[in-house]
């Protein structure tokens, strides 16, 4: 029994963190965000060299064949760096969907390209979590109609995996559908809206039935977002503790004031158990099927809440400086806020967790 990371996982973490520290410092995040560039090619290519794009893709398809826990470790690093790159959809959810429900031909067509960083595959499942403005996609005779909003990794994607209202999954080529950018608080990741108008689509054959493939896809994405929040919150917390040790007011380092010290302690107490929860939830997705759904929901909801608390409190510890763009703290603040809402805000996923445990009918 060993609850923790393996040596390989620690190495992955170190090498990725090292790469991001060099390739993606605050200035780079800021420049990309200002330019609206959510896939700067230097970072993207560097990640390819580290095998990040194909982390979850089996070696047979050109990937590295790692586990979802590894993907969570990657997401945590990306969150910690506020890295402006596609990941949740194209590197976690789309591979999960293709592996769970894609035909062999679909896998062969897409997985190697994705692993090589040559294709970004977006994922459109928001309406399955909760539909706004009456959006939703109907599948009729192999063609899609309707609207999908908040499509993850939606900018310049070569394809998109789309859930229809019945819970089946479809593969749509980027060239067949027009994506409208949806500018959000988080400038480091792209979401789009897709309008389908008798758009040709290819069903993922394994995704008929009770929607298990869709659900597993969403849950994998939730774990990735929870891990991203973990990394972003840890980064904000670290910055706050560091600031509390340096900044002086009333002739004292502010961290010596009990009020500030206790804010830091409360952040630590809120944040540290999140790490174990994210690890367990990631591990459960593949290793403990009975608990997978509830754990994905809990990781997403709990990190959403803890993340909000830490984002706010770390900003508070920084005083006025935290409110400015100077330290760039807000990139993490906004990333955490964005993660909270995507793939289900806390109240919604807690309700799903209750259903997954049989405590209430599915919502």
């Amino acid at each position: 029994m060993e609850f923790g990371l393996t040596e390989e996982q620690r190495l992955l973490q170190q090498s990725l963190a090292g790469f991001l520290a060099a390739a993606c410092p605050l200035d780079r995040v800021r420049a990309a965000a200002d330019a609206g560039d959510t896939r700067p090619s230097d970072i993207w290519d560097g990640l390819r060299d580290l095998g990040i794009h194909g982390a979850l893709i089996p070696e047979a398809y050109g990937g590295v064949g790692l586990s979802l826990l590894d993907a969570a470790i990657i997401a945590e690093c990306l969150g910690a760096a506020a890295a402006p790159v596609p990941f949740t959809a194209t590197a976690v959810m789309a591979p999960a969907a293709l592996l769970a429900a894609g035909s062999e031909a679909q896998r062969e067509a897409w997985l190697p390209r994705m692993a090589a960083g040559d294709a970004v595959v977006a994922v459109a499942v928001t309406e399955h979590v909760g539909a706004r403005e009456g959006a939703g996609v109907e599948a009729v005779a192999g063609r899609l109609r309707g609207k999908a909003m908040f499509v993850l990794d939606g900018a310049a994607a070569q394809a998109c995996i789309v859930a229809d209202t019945a819970g089946a999954l479809h593969l749509v080529l980027g060239e067949h559908v027009e994506a409208t950018a949806l500018p959000t608080i988080d400038r480091t990741r792209a979401v789009t809206a897709l309008q389908f108008d008798d758009t040709p689509a290819e069903p993922l054959p394994g995704a008929a039935g009770q929607g298990e493939a869709l659900q597993a896809t969403i849950d994998a994405g939730r774990v990735a977002l929870a891990a991203d929040t973990l990394g972003a919150a840890q980064a904000m917390f670290d910055k706050a503790v560091e600031y509390a040790k340096e900044r002086r007011q009333f002739n004292r380092v502010i961290g010596s004031f009990q009020a500030v010290k206790h804010l830091c302690a409360e952040m630590a107490a809120a944040l540290e158990p999140c790490r174990a929860l994210v690890w367990y939830a990631a591990h459960a997705q593949q290793a403990i099927p009975d608990e997978a759904r509830a754990m994905a929901c809990h990781a997403k909801a709990h990190l959403g809440e803890a993340g909000r608390f830490i984002a706010r409190t770390a900003t508070e510890v920084h005083g006025g400086m935290g409110f400015t763009d100077l330290l760039g703290l807000h990139y993490w603040f906004k990333r955490i806020g964005w993660n909270r809402q995507m793939l289900g805000a806390p109240e919604l996923v807690r309700q799903e967790a209750a259903a997954a445990q049989g405590w209430v009918a599915a919502p």
Binding site: F150, L182, P183, E316, F323, G337, P346
Partner: protein, 411 residues
């Protein structure tokens, strides 16, 4: 408990309502992202002064309406504009104008108050400095006298609106050897005085509402001082008692609450109004309880003010509770909107309530407010400082001993 008003005040309320009915459409939008006042805002302010709904008790000779101070009438105005969701007027600058009225020379009053209340002369406040956040009195910007001029060197920060303001009222250290509260002076000068450099300070909202202001041998006539040399700290604080409403104003919270109720009625999730979502509804109702408590607390404070009494604790807590409540309401609104709640106009884009994005709600104002209200929790005396003040001044708990002592409550 008498919640009704005198016939005079009821008549006044009717009059305000009539005005709003007739002219409300001319007002700039009451909610949304906002920048510096434009011509529409200035016209609206002039109209409000003319009818006595702005600058109401400022004497006519200084550009105000010249009415007898009547706190209740002021409250009725605020309430009616709030209920109608119409942007109210202002009294120029709620720190500067009362200061000039109380301590300015006749010349200063005549020169500055009228254009200020009309909105033709915009001011910025030069108080905070990089090294003195919570500990304002430790400010280091210096001014020495050279002939009949002060010569200012140093730096201010968090200077809201400095990039478009015409004038600054500013605290500078003129007596470097005096105890820190006794070496400060309060000066007024135009922002185009040579030697002033304004550098916009972009905030987390993506806008440059604040600035850093650098002074290099900025020369200001000694006549531009308000009060005496070395008494600037007391000049700046003399008028704090005039600040009413301000941070934590319960009218703001009530307005925001109404918007959330409307949102929960109108917005749907999976085709059902958000009001039917029990967990969100319980959050709404919890906040309503807090909001109502602060609203009635505000009425209690108002009653004291009408009688010229100090309200004490009910007043001490307004900023702490009000800012937190607003922030919590913003957070709920964002959660209610879910993914839609993350939408935000591209950085640097001028605020525009008619933003082209059809999915955007209130031009992204909820996200903006969520951040701005966190900024208010931090700024204007952080929540931590507020708690020190409540503990020490209102409850009489002792200050921290020795090294930890000094004036924590100063901001």
């Amino acid at each position: 408990m008498l919640l009704s008003h005198s016939p005079e005040h009821e008549a006044f309320r009717a009059e305000v309502r009539e005005f709003i009915e007739a002219h409300g459409h001319q007002a700039p939008p009451a909610f949304g992202r906002r920048g510096p006042p434009d011509e529409r805002a200035r016209q609206w302010q002039r109209l409000l002064i003319e009818h006595g709904y702005a600058a109401r008790s400022i004497p006519k000779e200084y550009g105000g309406y010249g009415a007898e101070p009547d706190i209740l009438k002021s409250h009725i105005i605020a309430e009616e504009f709030g209920n109608a969701d119409i942007l109210g007027g202002h009294d120029g600058d709620n720190r500067l104008v009362p200061t000039l009225l109380e301590l300015g020379t006749e010349e200063q009053k005549r020169a500055y108050i009228a254009p200020t209340v009309r909105g033709d002369m915009l001011w910025c406040q030069g108080y905070s400095e990089p090294g003195s956040g919570s500990d304002l009195a430790s400010l280091a910007t210096k001014a020495h006298v050279d002939g009949d001029e002060f010569v200012i060197n140093g730096q201010k920060i968090w200077t809201s609106g400095a990039h478009y303001a015409d004038m600054m009222f500013c605290l500078v250290r003129t007596e470097p050897d005096a105890p820190k509260h006794q070496g400060i002076s309060y000066l007024l000068f135009p922002m185009d005085t040579p030697g002033i450099e304004v550098r916009p300070l972009v905030t987390m909202t993506g806008e440059a509402t604040f600035n850093e202001v650098f002074f290099t041998d900025v020369r200001v006539p000694t006549s531009q001082i308000v009060g005496k040399r070395g008494e600037g700290w007391f000049v700046a604080n003399a008028t704090l008692k005039h600040e009413r409403g301000g941070l934590g104003d319960p009218n703001v919270a009530e307005n925001r609450f109404r918007r959330i109720v409307a949102m929960m009625t109108n917005e749907t999730l999976d085709g059902r109004p958000l009001m039917e979502h029990p967990a969100y509804r319980d959050r709404l109702l919890k906040l309503q309880g807090q909001m109502l408590a602060m609203k009635f607390n505000g009425m209690r404070v108002l009653s004291h003010a009408i009688k010229g009494e100090e309200a004490g604790l009910p007043r001490w807590i307004v900023k702490l509770n009000g800012c937190e409540l607003n922030h919590q309401m913003d957070a709920l609104a964002i959660d209610l909107l879910g993914e839609l709640g993350t939408l935000y106009p591209a950085a640097g884009v001028a605020p525009d309530p008619t933003d082209a994005n059809p999915h955007l709600r209130d031009a992204g104002a909820w996200q903006q407010r969520y951040m701005l209200d966190l900024g208010l929790i931090i700024g204007g005396g952080t929540a931590q400082i507020q708690k020190n003040m409540i503990g020490e001044r209102a409850l009489g708990l002792p200050k921290e001993p020795k090294a930890a002592q000094r004036q924590e409550g100063a901001a």
